[in-house]
């Protein structure tokens, strides 16, 4: 254990994802020894992001305004929604340039052991977006792993009753991985060859 402020920093860093106690300690001492100006920039970046960046009130993607740039863009196809788990998946799909519709960010996948059921995700918000009848196709682009597939199964069953076309990215995506690691070509191809769920 270190004295007050240093230990506090180690504890805070250790709460970040993927950072164990050893890494937290290493980062804390890096910060301690680093140039004060550089560290001020880091603090400002964190403060700004927390103050300015929110989540789009329509799709849940990160945004600096009430709604994100994709939801505001009139050139995007208003009849298609691509459902993803996280904001970083929006970036992955955007890179492929295969999709011109809009997005819906769920905020994760259904994972009962982790205490995440359908109610913990932005599924009700998705249903609300369907109420005006403008949406014709929903593309489910959750991760090609078990939780992602289970979430797709749940959504397909729910959306079946609404009468909208539901598709899932082609199974050409290797199973077990995260969407964000799929290369652009593979992901683009998965979009082209999406299959109907209902």
């Amino acid at each position: 254990m270190y004295e007050g402020a240093v230990q506090e920093l180690i504890d805070e860093l250790g709460r970040l994802p993927g950072i164990g106690p050893k890494s937290a300690q290493r980062l804390a001492f890096h910060i301690l020894e680093a140039d004060a100006e550089d560290m001020k920039k880091l603090v400002t970046a964190i403060t700004t992001v927390k103050e300015r960046v929110k989540f789009c009130s329509i799709c849940g993607n990160v945004s600096e305004q009430e709604t994100c740039s994709i939801c505001r863009d009139p050139r995007r196809d208003p009849t298609m929604i691509c459902v993803v788990e996280e904001s970083k998946d929006v970036q992955a799909v955007e890179r492929t340039r295969s999709f011109r519709g809009r997005y819906h960010v769920l905020g994760g996948a259904i994972n009962p052991i982790a205490g995440i059921g359908p109610e913990q995700l932005r599924i009700r918000e998705l249903l609300n977006r369907l109420s005006d009848g403008q949406i014709e196709e929903i593309i489910i682009a959750t991760d090609p792993n078990l939780e992602g597939e289970a979430t797709a199964t749940y959504l397909a069953r729910m959306l079946k009753t609404i009468g909208v076309t539901v598709t899932r990215l082609a199974s050409g995506l290797p199973v077990g991985g995260d969407l964000e690691y799929a290369d652009e070509v593979t992901l683009g191809r998965a979009f082209e060859g999406r299959r109907h769920l209902s």
């Binding site: 009962p112 052991i113 205490g115 991985g177």
Partner: protein, 250 residues
């Protein structure tokens, strides 16, 4: 590290994946129930990359023949050969998925300290996941049968016929989770639930694996027995099995 010390820390075992956690950039921590080494937590490196050699073999509900290297806090998975890929049949149906989650969470809780019954728990879980994946029976019946048998294997065998406290021959009309199941008129604590006779028969069938009786049971008795199984599980595990409240019951 010398080659011989690496070799001496390498071991091989069959395992079922109970759950996974993301670790760092592209790794996962895999919680396993093994056939011979009890519960094991191991790192699968690079498994989240779509180019991973592990593919779907280390996803929850999968059974694989693994090669591992033991480490100080976490072991490392170096090879995985699939033995049973039940995940696909399970995620194709949302109810099955919620049931499988409740079963693996229970298995994790029952084997985190008790290494003795681990082999029996491994076999029981693999059998239940296979049955669930094939759709042999209603998912909620497979779940309740699994829960009762897993608890029995863990040393908390309930009785649904003779009185769990005094042994008086049954059938009896009351149920007490703290006392271990069916209780006679003299032993029943005040306020004990009084389930239907058919519910007690269903519970006994689920515990013994009498599927003929279980499959032909009525929805109302399934519902009642599910509540009693949940209360029995809760009583013995202290902390709630959180997946249980997400289980869809038809």
């Amino acid at each position: 590290m010398s080659k011989s010390s690496f070799a001496s820390r390498t071991y091989r075992d069959d395992a079922v994946v109970l759950r996974t956690h993301k670790l760092g950039e592209a790794d996962r921590i895999i919680t396993l129930l093994t056939r011979r080494h009890g519960q094991v937590r191991a790192v699968a490196k690079g498994v989240r990359r779509t180019s991973s050699k592990f593919g779907a073999r280390l996803e929850p509900f999968m059974v694989a023949d693994l090669q591992l290297v033991s480490g100080r806090t976490l072991d490392i998975v170096t090879q995985a050969v699939s033995i049973g890929s039940y995940g696909e049949g399970i995620v194709a149906d949302y109810t099955r998925y919620t049931v499988a989650a409740a079963m693996t969470e229970t298995a994790e809780r029952l084997t985190d300290v008790d290494g003795e019954s681990a082999t029996a728990q491994f076999l029981l879980l693999v059998g239940a996941l296979a049955s669930l994946s094939r759709g042999d029976h209603a998912p909620e019946l497979i779940l309740d049968s699994y829960l009762l048998r897993a608890l029995a294997t863990g040393g908390w065998a309930p009785s649904f016929t003779d009185c769990a406290r005094c042994g008086a021959p049954g059938p009896h009309g009351a149920f007490s989770a703290p006392l271990g199941g069916a209780v006679c008129h003299d032993c029943r604590p005040p306020g004990s639930p009084a389930p239907a006779r058919e519910t007690m028969l269903l519970l006994a069938a689920l515990l013994s694996g009498n599927w003929q009786v279980a499959d032909s049971s009525d929805p109302q008795h399934r519902k009642e027995s599910a509540g009693l199984v949940a209360s029995y599980l809760q009583w013995h595990l202290e902390r709630a099995v959180r997946s249980l409240k997400h289980v869809e019951r038809v």
